[in-house]
Symmetry: C2
Subunit: 367 residues, 2 copies
């Protein structure tokens, strides 16, 4: 299992110097993006990054469409359902930006970016697989439309195609990094399965899960870019660090947004995690800080998943009361700071400025 | 999708010269195995092969146990449930024997053999994933014990570990071969999903499915052994040919055994394919050769899967009456001949003799 080098236990962090760095806003707009005068201002740093690497992104999108192809007609149909649903291409964009940050001028980062997106898509498809009990609750996902088995097999197809794309980079080291990340992702998903419905889940376990299931791929994507660019280990490690901490922040915010009052941000319904009994940091904090009566509530709704109308609202009230959502956001900002620090060794460049802006964007997407 | 270089349409083959080669028995015992005098005679060629490569096999088994390990406790538990259930280690044995046939003296074939077994195990776990409708029929498999989702994720773990093992062989070509095989396997599994319950499935589609879902991994395992041994393409292609044709024969026989009167051979319950509505060659032949009344029967039991007691027996009677099982066995023998021919360029050796015996063993395991 992944060690937790940067995933410090959170309630301990409240007392550390890291905890005071909770607002990165003042720096957010320090580096205006270079733009053609006639282009309207991009609305997010991701749009700005997509503009900056527009040619590369186009090539990656073409590669994605091309390598999703199969003579077995159901494969591209199901794959495009989920690949286009993904939409924002966060991981390929980070891959492309990291390669540019390393001043890479070749084209091996294109296949790498497509491979990273395929691995991400495969894990989404496999994450959607449900057991009978879940099906009864009637989830809507790719597997609900196409069936569990198709989702699994098309995930396997994309995963295998990802490895073929990596072979084309000609780098065994890239294959090693992303195979290892894939091992860690699978471990994280199994660990998450084990902590689901378990209100005794600790912060450590939760952090282990999100480092593995989410942040490991961010880290591997950024590190691999330095490898295809032929950069020294120090740069690869710095980009790994950036990706890992950004990924942790990203998942923390995702887990907060699932309890957000503003519905349907990210195309996500509020309360998905709650309905599944997934134990995320807001739950861990609210449970630990709650009264015995409140714990009875948490056990009923999350362990037994006996939920009635009003339970989600009550859960959000308890989280608010115990500052569980705000503290989770603070933690996300702390990891954001670590991500920011990781890039300190790189010279200023448009890519670096955008990679820094993305940290704040990832964190502040609701607030 | 995999082209079908050697998978000729079968009913056409009845009229060809290949169809007359239906009995390889006379040659089966021409090459007695070298044995220590005190050792009792091995009962099958697989046992003989396991004896011949005993040290390698021990090392592979140790590697398998070691690389199944994870700090996430459920992973080795579920993985060992299925890896040890596999038992006969056919694919790793073929990998080891192929490397020896190529006079390879290094140790990179050990990781390769373990990787091949992990890929096979991952596909078994993913093949066991079922949809709600199947769960209602109550299948017993790893996923019935551990749940769909665990089976998928542990499959992903093993698949990823397989790629890490391949990285350790240091050969991008091995990674290319086995990534490509994994793509083809996934395509074959999806195609099989599409042909399930479809009595209009043709022989071509059926052959495409079994080439992809079964034979591609046999072929890739044998070819990769030549690659790690640094042998020229002609030898790699010959071993690919051997593996592909052996794999087709293996699956044809498997599909016959599912309708065999001798129950529970291979630890398999008779009638599994029938209950799932899987369209195998015995069904294709019996359906095509049957009367309109018989086709009504086949559609009811396989398309609508409305089955009552006695239906399986009736299906076997119809297959026997139309020679569907015997002709499928004849086809298996034809592919066996192609596998035998593929090795003609290799000098005589204990490994070659056993690889030839394995062809007959695979075909004659029931008769």
């Amino acid at each position: 299992m992944l060690a937790l080098p940067r995933a410090v236990v959170i309630d301990r962090m409240v007392e550390t110097e890291l905890a005071v760095v909770t607002n990165l806003d003042p720096k957010r707009h320090e580096a205006p993006l270079p733009q053609a005068p006639s282009t309207p201002a991009p609305s997010t740093p991701l749009d700005a990054l997509a503009d900056l690497v527009a040619d590369d992104l186009l090539a990656v999108n073409e590669l994605i469409v091309q390598r999703m192809h199969s003579s077995v007609e159901m494969i591209p149909r199901l794959a495009s359902y989920i690949v286009s649903a993904g939409g924002k291409r966060l991981r390929p964009l980070l891959t492309l930006a990291s390669a540019r940050l390393c001043r890479y001028t070749g084209d091996r980062h294109l296949g790498l970016a497509a491979a990273v997106e395929f691995i991400h898509t495969a894990t989404l498809l496999h994450d959607d697989v449900v057991d009978e009990s879940n099906l009864r609750r009637g989830l809507a996902s790719a597997n609900a439309v196409f069936g569990n088995k198709s989702s699994v097999l098309v995930g396997d197809f994309l995963f295998s195609r990802a490895f073929l794309l990596m072979v084309e980079t000609g780098s065994l080291e890239v294959l090693r990094i992303l195979s290892q990340a894939s091992v860690v992702i699978a471990e994280g998903e199994v660990l998450q399965l084990q902590t689901t419905n378990d209100t005794n889940t600790t912060e450590e376990s939760y952090l282990e899960v999100i480092c593995a299931k989410t942040a490991a791929l961010f880290a591997a994507a950024c590190r691999s870019s330095a490898v295809v660019a032929g950069r020294p280990e120090a740069e690869a490690a710095a980009l790994d660090d950036y990706g890992m901490n950004l990924g942790i922040a990203f998942q923390l915010v995702d887990d907060v947004l699932d309890y957000s009052a503003l519905q349907a941000r990210l195309g996500k319904t509020v309360g998905d995690d709650f309905r599944e009994g997934k134990i995320t940091l807001p739950v861990v904090l609210a449970f630990r800080r709650g009264s015995e009566e409140e714990r009875v509530f948490w056990r009923r709704v999350l362990e037994d998943t006996e939920q009635t109308e009003g339970d989600l609202d009550h859960a959000i009230r308890l989280m608010t009361q115990h500052r569980a959502l705000r503290d989770t956001m603070d933690r996300a900002r702390q990891y954001g700071t670590l991500a920011r620090n990781a890039l300190s060794g790189f010279d200023d460049s448009p890519e670096k400025r955008i990679l820094l802006e993305i940290i704040d964007f990832v964190i502040d997407r609701e607030y």
